[in-house]
Amino acid sequence: MAEKNQGAPLLHVEHLTKEFPVEAGVFASRMNKKRVHAVEDVSFDIYPGETFGLVGESGCGKSTTGRTIMRLTNPTSGKVVFDGKDVAKMNKKELKEMRRNMQFIFQDPYASLNPRMTIGEIVSEPLQIHNVMPDAKERLEYVRSLLDIVGLNPEHINRYPHEFSGGQRQRVGIARAFALKPKLIICDEPVSALDVSIQAQVLNLLSDLQKEYGTAYLFIAHDLSVVQHISDRVAVMYLGHMMENSDWKTLYDEPHHPYTQALLSAVPVPDPDVQRSRKRIILKGDPPSPIEPPAGCPFHTRCPIAQDVCASGEMPELREVKPGHFCACHFAAPNPIKGASVEL
């Protein structure tokens, strides 16, 4: 992967922060200063053609990060630079141009396709919006070929989404995302709504398409094994913060953050022998509310190795513990929680 990382990043995210007011409304906004700290000071780079995985539990801000990069919501502060241009400062025209090169695949294969459009119309919509292939006949042929590529029968071009299974709908979503041959696709939990056997089909399809078109992925998911399988580099988020970020192998072999280690340890392994022999870390309690995040390290309330220093002051800085391996913990060390095995 190292050779890929040379040169300019395709996407550069720097100190990205996104807060939401807790209650919207005319009266609430003035009186109520409470805010959801969805994303806090997140920075990372994605290089052309690579897959960057973003894992974390629900409410950790991973989806908001993706949506903010796409500018489906505006960031509170921080910078998102795509292909050399700052996304936050783009005007309407530049934003449209940017979206030609950055596409999105959604989690819910039911809600992400307009039920009143045929799959042919759905897949050709990005082409129409960007006025690529104005010739209707040529466009139709192209859409049929796209459907074929993602493993759908081109004869079904005039069918509606509800006539397909969840896995097939996700293929439609993938065909739509690839229609403009974008440079980056943000995949927001693209397989978590699918059955195991279908999940594998879709993951393979995404890998094949990446090889074919050289597209970079920002792959957002809660399933660690899926993220490990598809990603070149992986970042772990907790309560809006990036806790650890490294290439997939190091992160899974030698996590330096206690949260990463606990997360890996919590994943049930489909292998009874391994399951019986390993000792698991069971984290106590629930993640704190992102409305009133704890002071210091957000993980200190559940961390088995937390010290006084973790509960006070600022969030520990994301520092480079090894070349290309970043970790935000005062006690960053290989497998910091002792006596637990992290076999996946």
Partner: protein, 364 residues
């Protein structure tokens, strides 16, 4: 007081399991839905046995009938459109299918309890946790309000909810998802049931919370000795908890055996496909996954032969035309595949496991 004195009711839970039978025996159970579009064979010949202290994992994809099987056992299927087409369910030697609705009401919650995937919708938002916890106790055990509250606090403490005296007065929305699932478990265990049916209990939860809930269920089982039926699509979860595993496909079990038999000695192509579909821990090189081709079948126009034949890479003519009978690979380990009796076929096509790799002396 649900049970009147003159009711010559036999508390089944106090009866010994008859000689030669098991706590729960499901014997070739068939439950079909008769719909406008045709007959949906939701449960098509399910058989298994379960004893106290055991955990049965039921694995399958959506629409495989894994949930419907349990709902049928609990008598929670509306009939019609559902109809029992054959087979039997015996609990402590007594057929549940022959029981009256009145008798089943007593079985549910008291002898066999159930927890569901979504802890939010299974709790009533307008009643306090304490009231909902106590309901079963007052119904089945005739507890007074005070006794029920006291026991509720005890139960909440047992499932690890801090500050139980206060929390018993809270409403469901004041609990997090994981806490709610703890409440559901407390509620299910309130009457000390023989069998706990858990339908995807951790699917809606985060992985660190899932680990807590699984740990809790194991702890409770150790303490109470109840049996668990764990319905899930996650092979990792069954590998963690199950003693026996039933793999279901299109309403019928394709393979049944102990956890070790399923994970290290599976003999059905669908089980192989499932095992191959999961991304595995790899140390060096990533390999593409081997998915099962195609899509799950519709249960209405089920194939004439083996339900898996349209997606099976090894399917022959016989598979498409004849339904396979259970073939016993080992004692208590059966497979519904025409080729299961051929050891060469299994040896050639079965996926490699951590055990075979260790045996071959390859890297772990």
């Amino acid at each position: 007081m649900a049970r009147k004195k003159n009711d010559n009711w036999v508390e089944l839970k106090d009866q010994p399991v008859p000689e030669g039978s098991h706590l729960l025996e499901v014997d070739d159970l068939k439950m079909y839905f008769h719909t406008q579009d045709g007959v949906v064979k939701a449960v098509d010949g399910v058989s298994y046995t379960l004893d106290r202290g055991e955990t049965l994992g039921v694995v399958g994809e959506s629409g495989s009938g894994k949930s419907v099987t349990s709902l049928t056992i609990m008598g929670l299927i509306d009939m019609p459109p559902g109809k029992i087409e054959g087979g039997d369910v015996r609990y402590r030697g007594k057929s549940l299918l022959e029981m009256s609705e009145h008798e089943m009401e007593h079985i549910r919650g008291n002898d066999i309890a159930m927890i569901f995937q979504d802890p939010m919708t299974s709790l009533n938002p307008v009643y306090t946790i304490g009231r909902q916890l106590g309901e079963g106790l007052r119904l089945h055990r005739g507890y007074t309000k005070e006794q029920a509250t006291e026991r509720s606090i005890e139960l909440l403490r047992m499932v690890g909810i801090p500050n139980a005296e206060q929390r018993v007065k809270d409403y469901p929305h004041e609990f997090s998802g994981g806490m709610r699932q703890r409440v559901m478990i407390a509620m299910a265990l309130a009457c000390d049931p023989d069998i706990l049916i858990a339908d995807e209990p951790t699917t809606a939860l985060d992985v660190t919370i899932q680990a807590q809930i699984i740990e809790l269920m194991k702890e409770m089982q150790e303490k109470n000795g109840n049996a668990i039926i764990m319905i899930t699509h996650d092979l990792g979860v069954v590998a963690d908890v199950a003693d026996k595993i039933m793999v279901m496909y299109a309403g019928s079990p394709v393979e049944f055996g102990t956890a070790d038999e399923i994970f290290y000695g599976a003999s059905h192509p669908y089980t192989w496909g499932l095992i191959r579909s999961i991304p595995k821990q790899v140390k060096d090189e990533k390999k593409p996954l081997t998915p099962i081709k195609g899509n799950p079948p519709s249960l209405v126009n089920a194939p004439k032969g083996c339900p898996f034949s349209p997606r099976c890479p090894y399917a022959q003519d016989i598979c498409r035309n004849k339904k396979p009978e259970p073939h016993f690979v080992g004692e208590g380990h059966y497979t519904k595949c025409h080729f299961a009796s051929d050891p060469d076929f299994i040896k050639k096509n079965a996926p490699s496991t951590s055990r075979t790799q260790n045996a071959e002396g390859g890297e772990q």
